[in-house]
Each structure stands twice: as structure tokens, then as C-alpha cells.
Symmetry: C2
Subunit: 309 residues, 2 copies
DNA sequence: GGTGGCGATACTTTGCGAATATGGACGGAG
DNA sequence: CTCCGTCCATATTCGCAAAGTATCGCCACC
């Protein structure tokens, strides 16, 4: 049984007339007669009553037609669904990211993407950079935003583009002596109790700090350790000490704190967006397109990496 | 798009390999490649990723396959449903009947039919014989059980077979003088107050009574009138008089009453089963088959009327 | 009894699906 | 690095079945 048989039977039921149904189907009448006869032979049931008044479905025909309608609807829906999925209008995007990415690039990107692709299910997984990279390689994520480009097994099959670079920034309470200063020097920092973040990603940050502080890195041993940038800012606001974190912190400024540049300016690992090189998923493409339009410089980097899309 | 495309895509997804899927489908590999390619061209979406590790559906492919599965299930169900309907295993049977038919032939027939064809929806309409006949002609009923063969416009297109003949029976209370008698004579009846039924069907019955009573039919004018046979029996049990009704009443005998034959025996109109001559519905055929098996003599009458089925 | 409408049948044509043969790309083994 | 094997795509041929044309048969209606 082919879809053709269903279409013909439905047309015949609709027009109640072999000739007119055939005309509507764009074929001649004899083929329609034959196809309907074939269908009746295959189902083993007479589906239509041919009377002088017209052609009417039998009880068996009614039962058949009801199913036939649904079958054809499913087929049409299959085409539509496939097309929508191919355009990236539906589907799923699994995004791994480090918490601090929520400060700067993600809000704009996710907001826009959610608005433009409301039928794409966004699965957001906050995780450390190393875990994101591994999940990406394992196919458990579609995109990742990490601190520094992923390294390690399988990373060579990932495409990575920087989506923002950052430098160390100090944050103090309004009441702190440094409040109001444009910048603080390393020497000034050495004399303060410091507040730094600790987490799976922090070795990279700690390396930057150590470079900055030089042989006085020992000062870090006495530093207050916070789980994330919000805690750093909260502790700084309490006057516990001088918070040190990425300049992205400024995006989440809260009353009662003051940001200073750190001199010399100390680069932190870039925020990097990665995905599997072989991933041709349209949802990913749509996401990258949104990123491209949201952050033009990222678009240029993507073009260099993939060739102009 | 034809059902073939769906079957091929599903097989390909299942085997993840063009060659093996083709073998499972009983075709060679190139046609499968071509059909899948055609399908992808028609849907405008790449449905499968061909890798060295195997062939896997894309997101669009997954969406398509889900619908394809349901479409094919509907098609299979269409065949099954049509077949079941053609065998009379499903569907609807609209039966019109007079209330007194519930005494004798209907309980056995309906019980058996309901057991054997539990998927057929039985629509039971108690109505007077004349209304049944009209509804049958109008196509509003499939079968009718009436008192006497239907007459009137369109009745010539009905097939009617007697399903039980009846004669006038008297019913009295146990305390009545006639109680214990095998029969009562017309003369005895003339001296009693009578209880008879009245309804749209009763002109036929009344005619029988009038014939019986001869010139004394005037006695009927003083008779008690009941709506149905159960009321006749109930009134008789109260000693109100002598009830007169069809011998079928005996099937619904209740304590406290006594039945007597009436002499001379007086025939009442036959109980007749009718249906449209041109009705080839399998549900009707199944019903007639049940009737045939329940009442053998009716089967013989049906065979005479329709030719041995 | 003639006529016209409608579906079925007979026969021819054609288009498409399937088979065979071949090509081309990639991966693994020597 | 080359060779070979695997796997999918392409090209060509073949055959069937679907579509077209012509016609028949049937019944209704005039």
C-alpha cells in the first residue's frame, strides 16, 4: 500500500464520483478505478459503494478513510518538522559555561537567541572549563564557553574562538581607602588582605595572580577564598579586603563597591567559545549566527576559523 | 512522497548502513541510496549523516522519522480497521423494535450478538411498528422488529421475515375463578371485564380482538386500557379483570397470575424482522447470522427470501 | 427503444524504481 | 606510502506498474 492509494481514496470519497475525483487528482478516470480496485483487493474489503446516485464509502471505507487522513497528515507533518529542524527552528542546544560568563557575553546572546528561536530548547549547564571541554568532545554538549581554549584529548577536533578577553580588576568597599582611585598598583595590593576566587578553573587565574605578585605570591596563602565573583564582590563590600577578579565583574556592579584597574594590567585567560568541528547541526549554526550578530569581533574570528559562512 | 520513502528511511535508521538496510528491505543498495536522496531533496533537509562509523539520522532526520513511524502505523491500522469493519466486527447497528419483542426473541438474539460482537455499538430504539418501518425506509434504522410486516411507501424495498407468531392469551389472577383452567372460551370472556393494550400498534391487535368477539366487540369499549403487556399482567394480578395479550407474555410470567389459552385460538399479527433489501452492511449480515443461529426456523425463512447465504 | 452518463475493461505508452556495473573517497594494513 | 577493502554515490539498462486512450456494458431517463 502506498500513499497514492490513500490520496486517491480520499479524493474519491470527497467527490463521490470517479471522473471528478480523477480530474481533481490530475489523472484520468481509468487509473483511479484501477488503483481503488487494487486498494480494495489489498485490504480485502469493499471500501466504496458505487450507486447511480454517486460513490459512497462503506462502513469499512469510513474506517479506512479516517486512518488514511491521519496517515497523510503525519506524512505532511514529517516534511514540515524535518524542514523546521533543518532550519534550526526546533531542536535542542546544550550549552556548557562557566558561571562568570553569565556576566558578560551570555546575557545578550542567550536573550537574543531565546527570542529568535523560541522553539529551540536551551539546556544550560554551568560547569568548570575542563568539564565543558570533555563533555564537548564526548558529544554531551553542543557548545561550551570556557576560560581559555580547551586543551587535552580530543581538543584538536574542537573549534574555539575568543569571545572576550579580560584583565585582573580590583574591587573594594566604598569606605575602603582605595575607593575612588582609578587604579591600584601591585605594591598596594601586597599590603592588603586579598579576596580571590577558588574553583576548578582557578589554577589558570591563580597563575596570573602569581605572575603579577612575583615572589610575594605567598600573600595569596592568607587570602580569603570565594566560590564565585559575586561572593568576591559581596566580601569586598563588607570591607573584608581587596577583591580580585575579572573585569567582567563590572557588569554586575552593586551599590557600595568601587572598581579599580590593577597596574600593571594583567591579562586573564580569554573567555572562549568552542564547539565540535564536525558539528553541522543547524541549531548550532543558528546559535553561532546569533553570536556573530551580537559580537561582531567574534564573527570575524569565526570567519577566520571556518571560512566566511 | 510515498510510503516507500518512509519505509526506506526507517530501515536505514534502524540498520545504520545502506547495504544492510537494503538487504533487509529486499532491494539492492543503489536504489536505497537514490530513494533516500530523493526524499532528502523533497524535504529539503539532509536527514542522515553518512560517516565511516555508520549512517545516523540528523536532528531533522529524527524529527522526520518520528512522524514517519506514526504515518506507517496509521496506514497499517487503516487496513486492519477496514478489515474488521468489513467483517462486521466493528460498527454500529441501529435496531428499532416494539416493546413486546423484548419478551421473546430479542433477549436471546441480543445477548448472543452482544457477546460475539462486543465491538459493535448496538443502538436500541423502542418504537411503534409504523415508525420502525418508516425509519428503516429512511435509512435511520438498520433492522426493525415490528408487529406485522411493514406496509406503506418504500416497504417494497424491505425484506421481512416472521420471527415468531403469536395468539391471543388470557391472563388472570391466581384468585380468579378461571385460574387453573387450561383455556377460556370466547363466551367466558364476554362476561368479564377485559384488560387490553393500547398503543400505536394496537389497531392491528384490536382488529384481532374484534374478530374474536364478533358482534360483542362493544365489550371492548368498557375495557381497561394498559400501555404495555407488563401493565396488563400487573392489572390482571390485582384482579381487575381478565388480561388479553400475546402469548409471548408467558416469557415474562410473574407470581400470582395464571395464563389460559383462548378458544377458539386467535392469531395475532406476526412479529416480523425487517431490513433494507439493498443493505449489504457486514454488521447487518453478522446480525442476521446471529438471528439465524438463534432461531433456526427464521434462518430457513431468510434463506427462502434471500437465497441460501 | 434510443440516448447519455458513469464505471469497468482492454490495450498501449511511459515513467520510475530496481538491478548491474562502476566510480570515488576514506581508513586500515603491510 | 601504497595497496586494498569498505561503503556510498553515480551511470546505465531493464522491467513493471501506473497512466493514458479507446471502448464496452450497464442502468436511468427521456
Amino acid at each position: 500500500m502506498e500513499a497514492r492509494h490513500l490520496r486517491y481514496a480520499l479524493a474519491l470519497a470527497e467527490y463521490g464520483h470517479f471522473g471528478r475525483a480523477a480530474r481533481a487528482l490530475g489523472i484520468a478516470q481509468p487509473p483511479l478505478s484501477k488503483q481503488v480496485a487494487d486498494l480494495e483487493r489489498e485490504t480485502g474489503a469493499r471500501l466504496f459503494d458505487r450507486t447511480r446516485q454517486g460513490v459512497f464509502p462503506t462502513a469499512a471505507g469510513e474506517a479506512f478513510l479516517a486512518r488514511a487522513r491521519r496517515a497523510l497528515e503525519e506524512m505532511a507533518a514529517a516534511k514540515v518538522d524535518a524542514d523546521r529542524a533543518a532550519r534550526g527552528e526546533t531542536g535542542r542546544l546544550r550549552l556548557g559555561f562557566i558561571a562568570s560568563a553569565l556576566l558578560d557575553p551570555l546575557p545578550d546572546v542567550l536573550g537574543r537567541f531565546g527570542r529568535e528561536r523560541s522553539d529551540v530548547r536551551l539546556e544550560l549547564h554551568e560547569m568548570a572549563s575542563g568539564r565543558s571541554a570533555a563533555a564537548l568532545v564526548a558529544g554531551e554538549l553542543d557548545v561550551a564557553v570556557t576560560l581559555g581554549a580547551p586543551r587535552g584529548a580530543g581538543a584538536e577536533h574542537l573549534v574555539s574562538v575568543p569571545v572576550g578577553h579580560d584583565h585582573l580588576t580590583a574591587v573594594v568597599a566604598d569606605a575602603h581607602p582605595y575607593s575612588g582611585q582609578v587604579s591600584v598598583s601591585v605594591d598596594q595590593l601586597r599590603r592588603q588582605s586579598l579576596i580571590v576566587a577558588a574553583g576548578e578553573d582557578e589554577p589558570a587565574v591563580a597563575a596570573g595572580l602569581r605572575t603579577l605578585l612575583g615572589e610575594d605570591a605567598a600573600a595569596l596563602h592568607g587570602a580569603t577564598v570565594a566560590r564565585d565573583v559575586h561572593t568576591i564582590m559581596g566580601l569586598a563590600a563588607c570591607g573584608v579586603g581587596v577583591g580580585l577578579g575579572p573585569s567582567r565583574m563590572r557588569s554586575a556592579a552593586r551599590p557600595g563597591i568601587w572598581f579599580c584597574r590593577v597596574t600593571p594590567e594583567t591579562a586573564l585567560p580569554d573567555l572562549v567559545l568552542s564547539f565540535a568541528e564536525r558539528d553541522r547541526s543547524p541549531v548550532l549554526a543558528a546559535f553561532l549566527d546569533t553570536v556573530r550578530r551580537t559580537c561582531p569581533d567574534v564573527g570575524a574570528a569565526l570567519d577566520r576559523r571556518l571560512g566566511p559562512a
